[in-house]
Amino acid sequence: MADNGDDESQYRIKGGDYVVLKRGEIFKAVQIQPKKKVIFEKQWFFLDNAVGHLYSTTFEIGSGGVLQLRKLRDAESSSDAKEAGTDNRNIVDDGKSQKLTRDDIEMLKEQGLKGQEIIQQLIDNSSTFRDKTGFSQDKYIKKKKKKYENTVTILKPSCRILAMMYQGREPGKIRHLRYDTLAQMLTLANIHAGSKVLVFDTCAGLVLGAVMERMGGYGSVIQMYPGGEPVRAGVESFGFPAHFHDTLHGFPICHVNALLAGTLDTTAKDPSADSKQSNTAAEGKQNQPEAERQGSPEEQSMETSSCADGSHEQEKDEKEKRKEARAQEKKVKQEEKRRKLAAAAALLEGRNADGLVIASQYQPCPVLMGLLKFLSPSRPFVVYSQHKEPLIECYTKLKEHGGTVGVRLTDTWLRHYQVLPNRTHPLPLMSGGGGYLLSGTTVATDRSKPAGSQQAEEPAPKRLKMTDTEG
């Protein structure tokens, strides 16, 4: 990758790209589509002009929603050479310090004046501005800038930006997972290229996307999802290259018990397509599922689809002649679905996953206890919950059950600072809750012993001793 320094193309905005708009501390994720009106911070514009420019470019919103490259700001320094007061003993709040009326300002806006020019007008027409202290003047300008500036910066999406965006815009959608908490999760779970990671994410796919970013398209991610279809809205916003998606697998959580019991049938019709799927995964684990892939495909199709659309097969049989075309299409889709399920099942079957990340609004304890069974020994897991109490239950259950060490219940505090000459202090407001994490490491147990590992371990009663030493 070091050689890619000169490769301009990856830094340029292309049509169809997923990008993030930024103004001040506000972010919004959008896809670049021709002639599509985008509304951001009470302004509308078209992104067509941004195509071809480099990422992190700042644009001004012109009339008709056209984006224009922002001119370099020379004007900004002009207002710097100014006089300032030392204190506010003579500043009286009479509500008359601003000579411009509301209507005047509206008129300036309609004339198409740039934000910077309006701010200058406001300053020129403020009778108290000159008496304010230098600090106070800065603050005034900053405040006005926020209001009148009509620029937008286009950024390449990243986990950092998207996590901050969700937190600012839709914290409920991501279960109030603060970005520093997400950062802890990725590190505690030792997410890195080449591993096989299980993710249960009902945080709009933000956690899943974050995991995929850290894996860089190497290894495999198995998304365990509830309901009929996995939620991947957040993943889209990352704008991953196509090959990243080859490493992403989905497995419906309603099949977990069947898979654990060995009763899940994932026989596929087309073995060639299967091998294509598993090849994309870094693990060369094709051997195990191969044996199961033979057998009558017609029967299997009904079984595997029982979770979401089991009735469809029967329906098809009845009206086969009349709706052959539609049935065929459905069949292809089901075939595709089954193939994907088979690929995901094959990855899980070895019970040798390298990491587990859970972040959902579901009761975490059963999810954790169920999915831990798919992990190799000596692998990290991390569970997120907005509330502490469900994680206390998980902790207790893990201690009873054994098979894990180094289990910790934690959260983090995040404090932002204003750093300015002679005005440095923590920001008065901080986020009150960013959720809690339960993390730990799996170890070999006598109970759930993966095939082929050593049996030379201590009997179970010894475990009590371990619990004691851990306190």
Binding site: M1, A2, G5, L54, Y55, S56, C159, R160, D180, A183, Q184, L186, T187, L188, N190, H192, A193, G194, S195, R214, G216, G217, N352, S376, P377, S378, R379, P380, K388, I392, Y395, T396, V405, R408, L409, T410, T412, W413, L414, R415, H416, Y417, V419, T424, P426, Y436, T441, T442, V443, A444, S453, Q454, E457, E458, K462, K465, M466, T469, E470, G471
Partner: protein, 311 residues
């Protein structure tokens, strides 16, 4: 074993983490014929470790046992031999995300120190990224390079023994991210800029004192860095306990009988006058609760982040 790749079985030459408890872990260099003393007795590498599965329980000579874990940067951070103050996982996690590190990232770091952060960076940028780390203390630089080799990550890292404030990072226009953990980071800001790609990137400086932060922020602004932001992240651990709270004895409660139903009042009172005495009094309530440790780290350092715009 490698710090950037999991393996299932312990091999000669691996670094394994012997887990004896939360606060009690140690790294072991696995060598044929070698022995390691623990408070549970001796671990003989040839028989007890080599060929065993990571995560296995290993019985020591005194009959006690330990778990042997696969090394990770996080386990290494809590077990590594300190040559300097180190960064801990809470800060490392924040730094990694805020610097936008991922596979393929090229990172500059100074100083290398004890290599706590270096291992975490290497884990994240493997297999295609590279770390250029600069340490002005010769012994520490050599020791770090040695460790990277032992941990089989040396192909991903270049250690340079020079003064970052004077000589920079030894590379130009290649880095996606720069991390500074030195006493006077403001003196290295221009070198950070030089080391970074012309398309821009992210920089982070870690400083314990606010005066350092102040000067760094000024230097960053002077050098044209944008989005300058200073944060602090604190870890809070919650120990889970079963607590039992005693309930005080309020004495016999006559209203307990009179209250339920006025009509039955006389009836009930006649039937069982000494009711409070016969009813079992619940004198403790047990529940699961969390308590914080008696002392927690209240400050490690301020993290200042900034973006280098494309030039």
């Amino acid at each position: 074993m490698s710090f950037v790749e999991y393996s299932d079985f312990i091999q000669d030459g691996d670094v394994a983490i012997v887990y004896m408890g939360h606060e009690s872990m140690m790294p072991v260099k696995v060598q044929k014929g070698a022995q390691t003393q623990t408070r549970y007795g001796v671990i003989r590498h040839s028989t007890d470790l080599i060929g065993q599965r990571y995560g296995s329980k290993v019985t020591c000579s005194k009959g006690g046992w330990v778990h042997v874990l696969h090394p990770t940067p996080e386990l290494w951070t809590v077990t590594l031999p300190h040559r300097t103050q180190i960064l801990y996982t809470t800060d490392i996690a924040t730094i990694t995300m805020m610097l936008e590190l991922k596979p393929g990232s090229v990172v500059c770091e100074s100083g290398t120190g004890s290599g706590s952060l270096s291992h975490a960076i290497l884990r994240t940028i493997a297999p295609t990224g590279h770390l250029h780390t600069v340490e002005f203390h010769q012994q520490r630089a050599e020791k770090a390079a040695e460790e990277f080799k032992e941990h089989r990550v040396d192909r991903l890292v270049t250690v340079r023994n020079q003064d970052v404030c004077k000589d920079g990072f030894g590379v130009t226009g290649v880095a996606d991210a720069v991390f500074l953990d030195i006493p006077s980071p403001w003196e290295a800001v221009r070198h950070a800029k030089t080391a970074m790609k012309k398309h821009g990137g992210r920089v982070c400086s870690f400083s314990p004192c606010i005066e350092q932060v102040q000067r760094t922020c000024e230097a960053l602004a002077d050098q044209g860095f944008e989005e300058i932001s200073t944060i602090e992240v604190l870890l809070r651990v919650h120990d889970v306990r079963t607590i039992s709270l005693p309930v005080p004895d309020f004495g016999s409660d006559p209203s307990a009988q009179t209250e339920p139903d006025a009509a039955e009042k006389t009836d009930a009172a006649e039937k069982n006058p000494p009711a409070p005495a016969s009813a079992p009094i619940q004198d403790t309530v047990a529940m699961k609760a969390t308590i914080p440790p008696r002392e927690i780290p209240g400050h490690t350092g301020y993290l200042t982040f900034a973006t280098k715009p494309r030039t």
